[in-house]
Point group: C2
DNA sequence: CCTTGACTTCGAGCGCACTGCAAGGAGTGA
DNA sequence: TCACTCCTTGCAGTGCGCTCGAAGTCAAGG
């Protein structure tokens, strides 16, 4: 169980040190990060795994406040799996709808691109 | 060539009247929208078609300022098709990268969901 | 004539998710 | 010992994309 400074954790998660502190303050992590005697944060592998889940949720567009709710459920411990599942299922629906919408728009944009490619080729 | 009030245009485009005015003010439209003698805006079919293109670009995550650049190119008229094409191609790349990333994260979330479904089923 | 309601402009305000800054403490290499 | 760098907290600021509110105009219906 290695223990990383905030800079190292930032590098490994792709977040900034600022954002890591912000997530902790905002209740997105499961608990306060451990401290070295100096008061500096020390991140465990477990911390990093959770933060990766958080970044997955964030990267798929889940709002901070929903991530916080999910973290709160996990923090509570066993017994609320149905609620956690519901939250994730609802999120998946949103993401899938979004993917479909974006894909549709992208197809229309591709059509436009094809038109321009035709024009540009002709004038070349 | 029908001519619509801002409320009707809002309904047809899915934007709010507020947003339609904002887009016009911000240079996302090709020209100022026509006015009735009363000063009220009147949207043409052509306006609506362009606004649909704008919403496609926005819905796929193109920043307002890039939409504005694209609108400026179209406004300039023939001769800059290569530039327009470049802008759209660059945007397509961004969108496709994003789709891939989101899809990947979604798969990981699905895995988590499957775990919870197993747990919930077992306790049922 | 009077009210209602949709429209106008302008500028301010908001929600989100960071991001930056100031002031100070702590650990490390020369 | 000194300089340097990384870390700490707290709070303010930023950028984006709207969104709202105030105050006024105008056309139509009762």
């Amino acid at each position: 169980m290695t223990s990383l400074t905030i800079a190292e954790a930032a590098e490994r998660t792709g977040l900034t040190a600022h954002t890591l502190r912000y997530y902790e303050r905002d209740g997105l992590l499961l608990h306060s990060v451990d401290r070295a005697p100096s008061g500096h944060r020390r991140y465990t592998d477990e911390d990093l795994r959770w933060i990766q889940m958080v970044t997955r949720l964030r990267a798929t567009g889940m709002p901070i406040r929903d991530v916080r709710r999910y973290a709160a459920l996990v923090r509570e411990g066993d017994g609320n799996e149905v609620e956690r599942l519901g939250l994730l299922l609802a999120h998946r629906e949103v993401v899938e709808r979004q993917l479909a919408e974006v894909t549709g728009h992208l197809r229309a944009i591709d059509y436009k691109i094809a038109l321009y490619e035709g024009k540009v080729e002709q004038s070349a």
